[in-house]
């Protein structure tokens, strides 16, 4: 059967079509891929069909900072199906100011080869 994807690797958003065959046990065989402007597009579609992955951007509580939250993201994407598990882990974290961009909040999130890192500097709040 034919499946259509919009690649998300770069702003081009190439429309890629893949002819696939569903095998037993949920496995998918890719018969052909076309429409990608570059190899990354093909790789993306293969990944999407076999094991879709996503990055997450969210926030972590900060105590004593000039802002109450530090934005965080993952250093590498994780399986799409585990987004909410990841959110549950991230929600448990609290940092104390000052916080620097790049700081690792959770190492090897959910056992994957990805860290949750801070993406924003949060200086200490001098007033309080």
């Amino acid at each position: 059967m034919m499946r259509e994807f919009t690649c998300i690797i770069c702003p081009n958003g190439c429309e890629i079509r893949a002819e696939i065959e569903e095998k037993e046990g949920g496995a998918v065989e890719i018969l052909s891929i076309e429409g990608a402007a570059c190899k990354k597009g093909n790789a993306y579609v293969e990944q999407e069909l076999k094991a879709p992955q996503r990055n997450i951007a969210t926030s972590v509580l900060v105590k004593g900072g000039i802002l109450p939250l530090a934005s965080v993201r993952l250093t590498a994407p994780i399986p799409k199906g585990r987004i909410f598990d990841a959110m549950a882990e991230i929600r448990k974290c609290t940092l104390t100011a000052p916080v620097e961009s790049g700081t690792v909040v959770i190492h090897n999130l959910l056992g994957y080869d990805t860290d949750v890192i801070v993406t924003k500097d949060i200086p200490e709040n001098a007033e309080k």
Binding site: T58, S59, L69, R73, T119
Partner: protein
């Protein structure tokens, strides 16, 4: 609080101590930051960035999702990280900036006044760079009928509440507008436990980038309904629901297609408007199509020495292009400071019905430049053609052209002449 500031030559204007400075940059977001760094590299050091927030970074401070810097840094960064690259350079180069300072006025004589906790500050600048960004179109501006309960937020406001203020404004959500911000918020709200029921878009095509439809809507099973809009808002105190109707090709609601959606939050992602109130006060002429200034290839407005770039000039999709545009502007501003003027740009750029607008709107014809534009509706397999006096001077083949994506073309100098208007058409 001041960044690094040296003692400057002062005078008294309007009874306020006034400092002389070469360049004042109004707004320390991505455009202002890029302009500042580039100006410095071009040898103009007497700069001052005036930022009204407590920190530099502009709207990027609340855009915590990634996708920034793909073309510029060949990596995907969050908004704050992208801003930090420039902020770090500003700090390293010791470029002067001031935060917690709201510019109240810019005059055509390039006198800039700002309110700070230490008093009014005033600067007599040789050149002013306008990089104030934009505001969001509101429910009131759209004139959506019905009651006016709380629970109706523009997407940027909801984003600020969640990402900066640690406040959750929503539980059951309907989103109007498939612009990027709306779709980003669909995902953000879902991740934080709200239930986004649907996204409605009045156009027959989505207005945001395809990858956001993929990552923000499809991933979470949030349906997108094209050719639909909100035709009534209900609730005397907090929102209780909205009425959704299908629209025809003239965007008029089709009677009989009304559906009621119970919800406590309506998120509006229905357009950005360049924030040009200060520009108007300075006598800067605006383009009715972009709502931003009319500029030439030097990004100079009709007021000599006043320049504009970034979202305040025309709404961008990618911050990478904002930075590039601001850097081009900075090169011109540096030239202006040195030569005290810039060449005339009498050649006008006109468009056909398919093109909504171009930036710049005027050129000199003496050198190459980058032409930015947006099409009015989605088109496939077309050619964008630029002619001068009927002679084709540049063309770009596009497999797909959509209003959501700004199109840019390098116009080479070889075929350009200094007289005869340019025409940009789609064929």
């Amino acid at each position: 609080m001041d960044g690094q500031m040296d003692k400057k030559t002062c005078s008294q204007i309007n009874g306020i101590r006034t400092e002389a400075v070469d360049v004042v940059i109004v707004g320390g977001g991505p455009a202002g930051l890029a302009a500042a760094v580039e100006l410095y590299h071009k040898g103009i050091h007497d700069i001052l960035i005036v930022e009204r927030e407590k920190q530099l970074g502009g709207i990027l401070r609340q855009c915590i999702h990634d996708g920034f810097g793909l073309t510029r840094f060949c990596t995907t960064l969050s908004g704050p990280e992208y801003a930090k690259r420039f902020i770090d350079e500003v700090e390293e180069l010791k470029i002067p900036y001031i935060t917690d300072a709201a510019v109240l006025e810019v005059t055509d004589a390039k006198l800039v006044t700002a309110a700070t906790r230490d008093g009014l500050r005033q600067w007599q600048a040789k050149s002013v760079i306008l990089t104030m960004g934009c505001r969001e179109r509101t429910r009131g501006a759209l004139g959506i009928p019905g009651e006016r309960p709380t629970g109706v937020f523009t997407a940027g406001v909801a984003q600020a509440y969640i990402n900066l203020y640690n406040t959750m404004p929503a539980r059951e959500v309907v989103i109007l507008g498939s612009g990027d911000i709306g779709m980003i918020m669909a995902r953000r709200l879902t991740l934080e436990g709200a239930h986004v029921q649907a996204v409605f878009e009045i156009q027959p095509y989505p207005s945001g980038l395809p990858r956001n439809i993929e990552q923000c809507l499809n991933d979470y099973g949030i349906p997108l309904y094209l050719s639909h809009t909100v035709t009534a808002i209900h609730g005397g105190k907090r929102l209780t629901g909205v009425t959704i109707s299908r629209v025809d090709e003239h965007f008029k609601p089709i009677p009989g297609t009304e559906k009621e959606y119970s919800c406590d939050t309506l998120i509006l992602s229905v357009g950005l408007i360049p924030e040009n109130e200060l520009s108007l006060d300075a006598g800067v002429a605006l383009d009715g199509r972009t709502k931003g200034a009319v500029v030439d290839e030097y990004f100079q407005t009709n007021v000599p020495g006043i320049f504009a770039a970034g979202n305040v000039l025309h709404v961008h999709d990618l911050v990478d292009f904002v930075s590039m545009e601001a850097e081009n502007l900075a090169d011109s501003a540096a030239e202006y400071i040195r030569d005290k003027s810039l060449p005339d740009c009498p050649v006008e750029i006109k468009t056909d019905r398919n093109i909504n607008h171009t930036v710049p709107q005027r050129i000199s014809g003496t050198r190459g430049f980058k032409l930015s534009m947006r099409v009015n509706r989605p088109m496939k397999d077309c050619r964008i053609v630029v002619r001068q006096d009927g002679v084709e001077i540049a063309a770009k083949k596009m497999k797909k052209a959509i209003p959501a994506e700004m199109i840019q073309m390098e116009i080479k100098p070889e075929k350009l002449k200094t007289s005869g208007n340019l025409e940009v058409c789609v064929e």
